[in-house]
Amino acid sequence: MQDQLESLILEAEQEIKKCSAPNDILNVKAKFLGKKSVLNGLYGRMRELSKEERPAFGELLNGARVKIESFLESRSEAIKQESWKKDSSGFDNSLPGVSLSRGGLHPLSIIRRQIDEVFMSMGFEIAEAGEIEDEFHNFDALNTPKDHPSRNLADTFYLEGGKLLRTQTSTVQIRVMENYKPPIRIISPGRCYRNDKPDPSHSPVFTQVEALVVDKGISMIDLKDTLQSFARIMFGSNVKSRIRPHFFPFTEPSAEMDISCVACGGQGCRVCKQSGWLEMGGAGMVDPAVFDTLGIDSEIYTGFAFGLGVERIAMLKYNIPDMRILFENDLRMLRQFRGEM
């Protein structure tokens, strides 16, 4: 009896091993455990046995049944596992994937957005105004002397009808101070124009971001603080900034701002002309004369302003050697900035 059962189990085990699909499992199960199976038939013979013999016999049959069931189950599980794996024969998984073809922003726009974000996170608002301006807003209100050379045709583009193309976005500051009362915290990004021939470091059309803060108790500490925060966020936490005396008609005191060279870290290199510092733009405390022209009480309010060149920042950050590259709109350049944020 025991032998018969053992050979039955062996036979079942071998057939189960051969199963390769869920259906095979069902068939084998029916064959060995179903109504017409040998095992089931043996259960029927229980009746022929005496009461004393029955328990031992039953135990034998059950043991066989459990064994076959466990074979079925583990094989069934194995089949399931295999079905999840992809048949990889003849599949060349080194071929490229399909890529969604995204475009990209112009590097100047990328830098502009970065600057916007830095200043907006510091509570600045973004103000815009026209690029076509009059002499008052571009020069007079900014305290520029009547005979200042920047007013020349060789420096400024003039338009028929007496207007001109603004030479800096400080004009926006004037317009904001004309229309809004302090406190004011703005940046004014936008296009400016100067009659420079295009060359590696000049362009008749360029982009500037100017910042202006007017409030009670604003001092040069605030200017330094803002510049430092800006430099660190844009160029990294190791970057240092400094201001040194300079002259601008609309700020007093005026300053030129530098950041430590992003190429050499301040050691001195070709980019920074061995100085370790890079010029970032002009800055200073708003001249009381500017406030007076605009009807802001310069005894109550103080403020600072500074201007940054977006092209220069982009060229520094991305190591672009020639400003003209930025206006060629060559896809081979533009593609390099896909995904840059």
Binding site: L95, P96, V98, S99, L100, S101, R102, G103, G104, L105, H106, L108, S109, R113, D116, E125, I126, A127, E128, G130, E131, I132, L153, F157, Y158, L159, E160, G161, K163, L165, V176, Y180, K181, P182, P183, I184, R185, I186, R191, Y193, N195, K197, P204, V205, L326, F327, E328, N329, D330, L331, R332, L334, R335, R338
Partner: protein, 830 residues
């Protein structure tokens, strides 16, 4: 904590309205969570004497009462000054005094009228506490004290009208857990004088009873006072006392218990009274009982006032007599030693317990009481004896009796005095305005912070240390001794908070609000439009603002527009400000085609410069040019060729995600092909256009259209108009349909001249509520299809917001769709 205005007024002369008081409390930092007005009941709600009470026949709960109302005028009282009243209260009985609301009385929720109950006239109602408005209890009528005169008005008896406030006390302010604390804070807020209750000097102890006090746990019980009063008479409390407790949310029990509760509500400091005669001695034969402050034994049993037996684990602090536990310290008294109407001699406890221990015991045994709530919040032990005096004097006054000996006082851990400095200069620095010294002193002294002197500021407790003089205003500090009940004040900054809070945060100067300068919406719209183009594979270009004026003619315009001209251009082809972004984009396209690019998508977002009479505008535009495939070539999946449907999808998709309801019409621009170019408007405002560039125009940019064999598409968006029209379009969430939608497909034969748009409209119009969407999934023309027709296949999605659609309903709808299509558009099924 619930407080009644009438009670609060005993300590503070406030005569402001309820709303004003609520505002004052809130801005003193005590949040008012609820206000309940208890109205006056008027002259018709009076004490009556129930002369007789008989069962109304055939009822088991109604009483027919004759109530004597004495001199109270009432037209229908009989010659004996009695009125007949039906009452359903279980405690109604002859001989008692009760509160009768005669017809005409306005109770809180309804007016009393003469009524017939079971055919018997009833002249008014005998009132429960709930009906009078002083509590929620409605289980029986109020038993008025027999010594109160018949005819006394309810308003007098219950201090009506009144208002109760439900206050939220922050956990750090244990000093606000009593009326006196609230009054103290308000007095500082209002700069009013608060009135402490006057405690008459206690009479000489004449009683003879003794008790022995042993404090074995000084850490857990820093102070324990105990006194014995003999010969008290325990009765229900007088009405003023009961009413006071009821309005603050406590149930009256009996005079002594009520007084301990009253003093707790008054001072914030819980008290407990034991029945002296139930306390036993440690040693048999000892002449007096013991009170022992000790920890519980493991498994020690305690039968509490709530009638439950608690098995203690040995950590709990107990107040025990010589043999067993008499109270869970600070949490609940024991049943066995509680004050009953049979009590004659009492032992009065006034103590403080370590907050952590009380919290642990309360948490462990899930027992939270008014007492544990207060002890958990750290009370000062300094006042235990004076509070005991207050309770004792009330007991002697109300319950009678004699004091026995001096108060027993175990005070193992004394609280050290705290003296802190506060700098007016620091107040200005932190809070933002100046507060002068006299104001600082005024506020703090009303909070019982005792002024010590002024001088050089030093951090930390300066108690007992000399104050150094200073001339420096920034260093100058006022020094105050902090009262023991203010456990929350430990540093200068805590005092600054007190000053600012009580002076009012409205005193902090309002900042100058800067005006909104930035147009944030336009800023985001512009960035998002660029991002849309980037997502559609386009690269951004930036071109100079000045251009070659002849390029407009190259675009096919017959006349040059009115340009803004430069006086000093660098060259003739940069001599005018641009009026369109398209010419430069075509130049960018040509440039890149010349550099072997084939699949090109470019856009620019920038200004154009328009002369308009004497003035000019600089509107922002986004223009894009597309040609070739919409993706990189891949060996397995082909990229799509950019065509009419691609560009239309890009353009309309942009407008659709802004939820703009645009309409399209043929674009009549000289550089665009006809039939494929459309301009979009909304509310009469142009949003933009898209279309295909005419091959001859490409030739003008030296692009050989024949060689290129690609369509060149452009679109332009009028960003300023889009920003304007999309402003303030707030999205409102729509409920997600609760019933499933059903999709049916339809294949139809369409006459060539009938557009898909017409078919779609016709289907949607069949039943706007049911048809959610129509979308084409196949278009097909061939010889198999009759001349002059094409085949269209559509998905139609149906949905009912109210219920699941049945097959019958769907079939009916589809039949009518087919019918309409046939009749209106000569469209038949395939």
């Amino acid at each position: 904590m619930k407080i009644a205005l009438s009670w609060l007024k005993q300590y503070l002369d406030i005569d402001c309205g309820v709303e004003e008081l609520s505002r004052l409390l809130t801005f003193a930092g005590i949040e008012v969570e609820g206000i309940e007005e208890i109205p006056a009941l008027g002259k018709t709600a009076v004490v009556g004497h129930i002369v007789s009470a008989e069962r109304v026949p055939k009822t088991d709960h109604l009483w027919l009462c004759m109530v004597d109302i004495g001199d109270v005028p009432y037209a229908e009282k009989d010659e004996n000054n009695q009125v007949q009243v039906i009452c359903g209260a279980p405690n109604c009985r002859a001989g008692m005094n009760a509160m009768l609301a005669l017809p005409g009385t306005n109770l809180k929720d309804f007016q009393i009228k003469k009524a017939k109950i079971r055919g018997i006239e009833s002249h008014g109602m005998l009132c429960s506490e709930k009906e009078v408005g002083i509590s929620d209890n409605h289980s029986g009528i109020i038993q008025v004290c027999p010594f109160i005169d018949v005819g006394t008005q309810a308003d007098e008896l219950f201090s009506l009208p009144d208002t109760t406030f439900e206050l939220e006390i922050t956990p750090d302010r244990s000093d606000l857990l009593g009326y006196l604390g609230i009054a103290r804070d308000l007095s500082a807020k209002l700069l009013l004088k608060s009135k402490e209750p006057v405690i008459p000097a206690l009479s000489k102890p004449e009683g003879s009873l003794k008790i022995e006090l042993t404090n074995l746990e000084p850490e857990l019980c820093p102070r324990y006072t105990l006194r014995v009063i003999e010969g008290v008479k325990i009765f229900p409390s007088p009405h003023w006392l009961q009413t006071a407790l009821l309005k603050s949310g406590l149930r009256p029990i009996n005079s002594v218990v009520d007084i301990t509760n009253y003093v707790m509500l008054e001072t914030g400091h819980p008290l407990h009274a034991f029945d002296y005669d139930k306390l036993v001695a440690k040693e048999d034969g000892q002449s007096h009982p013991d009170i022992i402050v000790r920890r519980a034994e493991p498994k020690e049993e305690f039968l509490a006032l709530d009638g439950k037996k608690y098995i203690l684990d040995g950590d709990e602090l107990l107040i025990a007599d010589g043999k067993s536990a008499s109270a869970l310290a600070g949490v609940m008294g024991g049943l066995h030693t509680s004050i009953t109407f049979d009590t004659v001699n009492i032992a009065l406890e006034s103590a403080v317990f370590e907050p952590g221990s009380v919290r642990k015991t309360s948490y462990k045994h899930k027992l939270s009481t008014d007492s544990s709530y207060r002890f958990e919040r750290h009370l000062s032990g300094e006042y235990a004896a004076s509070i005991s005096d207050r309770a004792a004097s009330l007991i002697l006054e109300i319950a009678g009796g004699k004091l026995c000996g001096e108060i027993l006082d175990s005070h193992p851990i004394k609280e050290s005095a705290l003296v802190l400095g506060v700098r007016p200069a620091r107040f200005e620095l932190l809070i933002g305005y100046k507060m002068d010294e006299s104001r600082i002193r005024d506020i703090l002294e009303r909070l019982e912070f005792n002024y010590v002197g002024k001088g050089m500021f030093e951090h930390g407790n300066r108690h007992g240390l000399e104050i150094q003089p200073t001339q420096n205003e920034r260093e100058m500090a006022l020094y105050f001794q902090i009262p023991g009940f203010r456990k929350d004040v430990t540093r200068e900054v805590d005092i600054l908070e007190e000053l600012s809070r009580l002076d009012g945060y409205d005193k902090v100067p309002e900042p100058e609000i800067s005006e909104q300068i930035m147009d944030r919406h336009a800023y985001k719209i512009n960035n998002a439009a660029s991002d849309w183009m980037v997502a559609h594979g386009a690269f951004e270009t930036l071109n100079y603002s000045f251009v070659d004026p002849s390029r407009m003619k190259d675009l096919g315009f017959e006349e040059e527009p009115e340009f803004i001209r430069l006086i000093n251009p660098q060259s003739a082809n940069q001599s005018v400000m641009r009026v369109s972004l398209i010419p430069q984009l075509l130049s960018n396209l040509a440039y890149n085609l010349n550099h072997s690019e084939r699949d090109i998508r470019l856009f620019e977002l920038g200004r154009i410069y328009l002369q308009e009479g004497d003035t000019h505008r600089e509107p922002k535009r986004l223009a894009a040019v597309f040609t070739g495939k919409d993706g990189e070539s891949h060996f397995a999946k082909k990229a799509e060729t950019i065509d009419y449907f691609w560009v239309k999808g890009c353009f309309e998709g942009y407008l659709a995600q802004l939820r703009l309801d645009y309409s399209a019409s043929e674009a009549k621009l000289p550089y665009l092909t006809q039939g494929e170019s459309f301009v979009y408007h909304m509310d009469g405002v142009e949003l933009g256009y898209f279309g295909r560039i005419l091959p001859p125009v490409l030739e003008a940019w030296d692009i050989d259209a024949q060689m290129l064999k690609q369509e060149v598409w452009v679109l332009e968006l009028n960003m300023d108009n889009i920003a304007k029209i999309s402003r303030n379009r707030n999205r409102i969430y729509e409920e997600i349909p609760r019933y499933p939608s059903v999709q049916r497909d339809l294949s139809i034969l369409v006459p060539l001249e009938v557009s898909y748009a017409k078919i779609k409209d016709s289907i949607l119009n069949t039943d706007r509520a049911l048809v959610q969407s129509v979308s084409p999934f196949d278009e097909y023309r061939s010889d198999q299809i009759p001349q002059g027709f094409r085949s269209l296949s559509l998905h139609i999605v149906l949905q009912d917001q109210e219920k699941t659609l049945t097959d019958e309903r769907i079939d009916m709808l589809m039949v009518s769709v087919q019918k309409t299509l046939k009749e209106e558009l000569n469209v038949s099924m395939r």
